[in-house]
Symmetry: C2
Subunit: 176 residues, 2 copies
């Protein structure tokens, strides 16, 4: 995997893709599916996300303050839905979904080799966790897989429906 | 425009579309383009968003605590980019972009008739405004335009590139 400059991280998350989130606690890694996230700052990249306290990952994220955001392309769509349909309480999701963990550089939770990008994160603000389950993360290190060219992401529309990236248009824009 | 049950609002925002945000202050309405937003709660629908203090809309939103989130389909893409390229300090964007304001039911800022959905919002949490420009909004009332069937939204990828909704896939999912 190849290093991605932190200044470009927003280009991965701003379009609103469904992502995976890995955590690790007491030597055990877990994965959840997440689509409630947004960029907060360009650089250093800050990301806000909601991790429900109904998710097994919640306690691990709150206790360890570390996670990895993994970007899956559409080829992993069934895996992404499957990961959202079971709990790390009951199952080792890396094994069940035959995903390949790889060590991260700056945090304990693993990267997922099958993702086209991996973002190593630490929790930097928990003020809204109790009320909204809202964590603010800082991206410490970002990786992309050069072998996955032009990955198409998926976006959750509710009730198991996902919209896949279509064509790209370019407009004269001062938006960064 | 037709009433949308508040329980379905997340289906509009969760896929991560670029949206417009209207505010009103001292009798003057303004519009900005926004793509840093996420769902926080299903019902009542809560939404977090970043409105930079470099935007003219920031002061209006902070002072009045009201806004409307407007969802534009791809046909409005050039308008959406144009709105992001100028400031309400200098120009009346409704006039410049020939958009049609309509009165909202619960808040002072106007709806935009050309949007395929309009969400009337009030600010419910400002604890992270000073540090991150992060507002938490509650959606009080939601409208859709029944004449716009299957609208395709756009998602910002940085530097004026936007990805347009492609095909929809359905997977067995317990994700709401």
């Amino acid at each position: 995997m190849k290093n991605l400059p932190l200044s470009k991280v927003y280009q991965l998350l701003e379009p609103g893709p469904v992502v995976l989130l890995t955590t690790a606690r007491r030597g055990r890694a877990n994965i959840m599916t997440m689509s409630w996230h947004m960029m907060v700052e360009f650089e250093p990249p800050l990301v806000a996300c909601i991790v429900s306290d109904a998710n097994y990952s919640f306690a691990a994220l709150r206790a360890t303050r570390e996670c990895v955001i993994v970007l899956p392309a559409v080829e992993l769509a069934a895996t992404v839905a499957g990961i959202g349909n079971c709990s790390g309480r009951d199952v080792d999701k890396f094994e069940k979904f035959r995903l390949t963990p790889a060590p991260a550089a700056r945090v304990a939770p693993p990267l997922i080799v099958e993702g086209f990008a991996n973002l190593e994160c630490r929790v930097v603000d928990t003020r809204l966790v109790n009320e909204y389950n809202l964590f603010v993360l800082e991206v410490l290190k970002a990786w992309t897989d050069p072998a996955q060219k032009n990955p198409r992401t998926i976006h959750h529309r509710g009730d198991g429906r996902f919209v896949v990236d279509g064509r790209t248009i370019t407009l004269k824009s001062r938006m960064r």
